[in-house]
Symmetry: D2
Subunit: 365 residues, 4 copies
Amino acid sequence: CANPVPTPSVPAPDILRCAYMELVVTDLERSRNFYVDVLGLTVTEEDENAVYLRSLEEFIHHNLVLRKGPVAAVAAFSYRVRTPEDLDKAVAFYTELGCRVERRAEGFTKGIGDSVRVEDPLGFPYEFFHDVEHVERLAWRYDLHTPGSLVRLDHFNQVTPDVPRATKFMQDLGFRVTEDIQDEEGTVYAAWMRRKPTVHDTAMTGGNGPRMHHVAFATHEKHNILAICDKLGALRMSDHIERGPGRHGVSNAFYLYILDPDGHRVEIYTQDYYTGDPDNPVVTWDVHDNQRRDWWGNPVVPSWYTDASLVLDLDGNPQPVIERTDSSEMEVTIGADGFSYTRANDESGSYHGQASKGFKIGNQL
Amino acid sequence: CANPVPTPSVPAPDILRCAYMELVVTDLERSRNFYVDVLGLTVTEEDENAVYLRSLEEFIHHNLVLRKGPVAAVAAFSYRVRTPEDLDKAVAFYTELGCRVERRAEGFTKGIGDSVRVEDPLGFPYEFFHDVEHVERLAWRYDLHTPGSLVRLDHFNQVTPDVPRATKFMQDLGFRVTEDIQDEEGTVYAAWMRRKPTVHDTAMTGGNGPRMHHVAFATHEKHNILAICDKLGALRMSDHIERGPGRHGVSNAFYLYILDPDGHRVEIYTQDYYTGDPDNPVVTWDVHDNQRRDWWGNPVVPSWYTDASLVLDLDGNPQPVIERTDSSEMEVTIGADGFSYTRANDESGSYHGQASKGFKIGNQL
Amino acid sequence: CANPVPTPSVPAPDILRCAYMELVVTDLERSRNFYVDVLGLTVTEEDENAVYLRSLEEFIHHNLVLRKGPVAAVAAFSYRVRTPEDLDKAVAFYTELGCRVERRAEGFTKGIGDSVRVEDPLGFPYEFFHDVEHVERLAWRYDLHTPGSLVRLDHFNQVTPDVPRATKFMQDLGFRVTEDIQDEEGTVYAAWMRRKPTVHDTAMTGGNGPRMHHVAFATHEKHNILAICDKLGALRMSDHIERGPGRHGVSNAFYLYILDPDGHRVEIYTQDYYTGDPDNPVVTWDVHDNQRRDWWGNPVVPSWYTDASLVLDLDGNPQPVIERTDSSEMEVTIGADGFSYTRANDESGSYHGQASKGFKIGNQL
Amino acid sequence: CANPVPTPSVPAPDILRCAYMELVVTDLERSRNFYVDVLGLTVTEEDENAVYLRSLEEFIHHNLVLRKGPVAAVAAFSYRVRTPEDLDKAVAFYTELGCRVERRAEGFTKGIGDSVRVEDPLGFPYEFFHDVEHVERLAWRYDLHTPGSLVRLDHFNQVTPDVPRATKFMQDLGFRVTEDIQDEEGTVYAAWMRRKPTVHDTAMTGGNGPRMHHVAFATHEKHNILAICDKLGALRMSDHIERGPGRHGVSNAFYLYILDPDGHRVEIYTQDYYTGDPDNPVVTWDVHDNQRRDWWGNPVVPSWYTDASLVLDLDGNPQPVIERTDSSEMEVTIGADGFSYTRANDESGSYHGQASKGFKIGNQL
Ligand SMILES: [Ca+2]
Ligand SMILES: [Fe+2]
Ligand SMILES: [Fe+2]
Ligand SMILES: [Fe+2]
Ligand SMILES: [Fe+2]
């Protein structure tokens, strides 16, 4: 990329996993209803300004913080690091990059101790912590399970204009790429990267950014995801379903995207694969492959490409959004100028400049 | 309706259930591959002109006949009747209506004996039989099961211009309505009707007809349907997926629509409810209810409304297609003139003349 | 059989399906907790003496009545008939047989009108009704679903000393046998019989009787049954699990047997097959087939063979229990004198007088 | 423990995960049929002496080697290490412990390069390798999936007389304990330990050893495991089912134990939880807790406690089996001298010296 983030001379902190997201919501009661009563996340603690939520198999204090605020946005993408000393490394790493860095021994949220927050080179508010309050892992508490039980926080997804630049930076931070989407000219549309040995702890999606594309929770089985759809239907909230359910090409996971009351996107996700070996094969998808985003070739709704949440700086102000100048995945794959195929080099399974059987959204337009 | 089919003075045959469909396909080998190698139906018998297929829990000779022919079409919607004498009743019933009736003691297909075929008052080729060869019920043969096992034929779906006229006739034939879709003026867009105590043995869908909308097979569980999608993706045949998977509003069943090599539509369907009591409550859906066709509010692709298979007369010639003059469900619910809602009387959940959050296909256009 | 019940000269009532069971329980609050809080049945109505419960897809007032009483027992096996006139037929049918018959225009329970109760020739308290209050069918109310949702009442199971005698009587009452268990000498150990087109509305199990073996509710999928086990474990109530989960040989259904606080046995059951054709093939199992009761060959616990609930006469007194004189299924298949095989005629898969690999309970003793 | 293995002064190799087991089988064709035709593992390569198998999501050459030999046994528990240099560390680590160590640059099996095999201090044949041939990850090949698809190798389980001694040694090797079973006196009956962040890569089960208790493969969902049972029933091989299916207390996973034609035990396993944080809470189960081994309280068959496979030394000779002198889990929990409870301190849910409702196997004896 043209303007690479320099590789720091100091070691990166040893990140264990994505741990929680802090979401600013405009109506705390309405958001609490969505995440607790509809989705079934467990309240670890709450007060009038914030609700601390966790998934059923979690033993740390929270995986999601809903904090009341004037503008819907993301206040932190928070990762757990292996040791307390990794916080020193995080400070040195980002300081060398000239980033704004803030460390609080008492933490930024309840339940978590010594923490470092930064405005990272890509404009995202990242947090690192090790010290955390343990709470009951509810894995065996089947009396609390619901048909759509969320058992783990799985990953984040970030929107950024320059995916190769972001990927290179994340690799410096110790992440490994597992899959990506490219075109024949090498334009990268999105990349998935991990610390824990799943397909990702976060992904970089090409688009106007920095913005937050989604936060993903895992279920045990596919029917749990279908049950969430069924319940949203029963509650006459089906307009909160944005895309899916479906099978991803990328990651091979089963998925659903829903929108919370502020439009923050939440993915429900299950059954990707083990990626922990250092030589884990990277899967590169052709952006024109009609099955990359949905293995069944079902269309990606345009809002999924265009909409995302603002992210905040460390003062709590929204970061300015910078336009992507590389090709847009939506534009190169959907509609009059787009091109997608179900079977490479097969006229009847491909689309080029006009509708084809292989391209369902073409049929719909 | 304006031009009702008269109610015959003689009793209707006692129909047990929809039993099989005879499909004319233009490339027998290609269709055999689709139904046997991809969908996993079992070949009971075959020759160079026809393949006789059954589902895993069936004990009669077949649930589907693929017959080679010049024009893709449906040659018969076939129902099993309770006794041999019901064939006499069928002859009398349709004869009184002035329909063309043909009876063959040796049957029209292999495996089936004495049969009656008619061109019914709606233009559909209906068959009735009782005598049939028993074959092994493969229910316990889990060594033959596949991830997408089809265990039963569930129902047919027919396209006809005048749904109330068709429904009245089918009630005379002994069917009971379980659900329908209407608007506030009483226009009926579709109706579901049954003999066996499920939601339907056949449905009448308003549109240009007589045509065959789909034939539906049942699986045991929802994951079996997802597995069919996954397999179609793996075979790079995802363009055979037309709509779904999803949860129906009508019938409450989980569904998927796929297209065979000739474009004949097949539904995979599971988990509707018991309807066998004579006072089983009829469910009437508002045509503007965005969850009636998909409980999750996912859009119905236009082809699902417009495309259907020709049906043949008893000479094997396609029946002429008569245009529907009543309102079109697609037109009243999709696009610039359409109107749909997720929550009745809720501005944010409704669509009227312009895109709304509650109406996903509006967002896509 | 030696002492057959005569076939009445009058027609039997037209029975639609098993509809509800009235259970006498000794601690109403404890039983309510079991059926409502643990199993998730829906309370239609309740007072200090009785709780009226229904499954999620039911539209009639109840499928189960818990009534407080001094002795745990069954007060009624209740069936719905097609028309009000079928009650007259029921009265005539049982009166001709010399049975005690009681008819109440106002019904025996809330929510149900004109009803007939009898002490049948086998000693069971049978009820017939048509008139019933309709309530909301909760099928679409996924906001009320639980991981172990019970969606339908499926069947009863009765213990009776002479199975052929009971079967002959039930056939006179209009039931059709779908499966049975016999030995090579023609001793019948159990038989399954149906009105609605599933494997059964009731079964006759050979043993000391009249007693009630179990009442069965259906789920949609197998994981729903597993979820009930998981929840019982979480509540430290796993000692309520008596047998299973497993796959039946007979019926091919997936099953679980649990015991309520009074020891009344409840089966949770899913995915048997369609049996509605008059020539539906009857499946006869060899009593020595180790997979007949559990397709996986897992042992049947002895209590499942020996324990059952008392049934009441129309005065509310327990019917005397008459001993079975035919061979006992437990004795001919388990332990030192028993004989079972996994593969017929295969030494390594069979057991005769001593432990074998093919017979797990032998290994356990 | 009395005779601890000394902690080496050199660092342990950095183990990624359990990678494959080499099984000696006495009839290669019969074993191939079991693992390939029945269980659906994929043949990567084979010759007349060995079959190399992998699971559907694997990208290394194999997860299981079946090698023809005179005595059924385990030739290697093989782990992948992070780098080639970790092999040097393995050599140094075991050499310091005085273990027999053999290194082969060309590997011990096809598809794998430079490898180290050792006779470890507990008597087990352990292998370490990094260099391996990559093969196609079949995750997306749903056309190859079966109802019981095995997607990953999950873990090994070893029988050893002194569990604390084994655990201390494994911790020196870099493993972390996630769960264990103890009694009130501190006797340890079993311990689970992991490198990858699941509940385990291997477990130590107290008993006469060194022996191999089982090797476990993962499925995506619970119904996949049930499908394996159903298929074994259909093939009249249900006597290969030893225990389960069920829900583990320990690990919270859903499980099944089956026996291959030589009696090697294979577990099918799904849905344990993430354990990758260094402070992951260790779960200690009371040996008398009736739900520790099966969350539903279903009995553990005695063979599961007593039977296990021999393991070989590096010359291919079976290691002598040393008797456990600590208490036996079977003896302290089953039968006349045993004691188990469903609810601690609850008479009706506990068993002590005599049968109780809370202890099903007691009822069976
Ligand atoms: Ca465009
Ligand atoms: Fe995602
Ligand atoms: Fe349909
Ligand atoms: Fe039953
Ligand atoms: Fe295990």
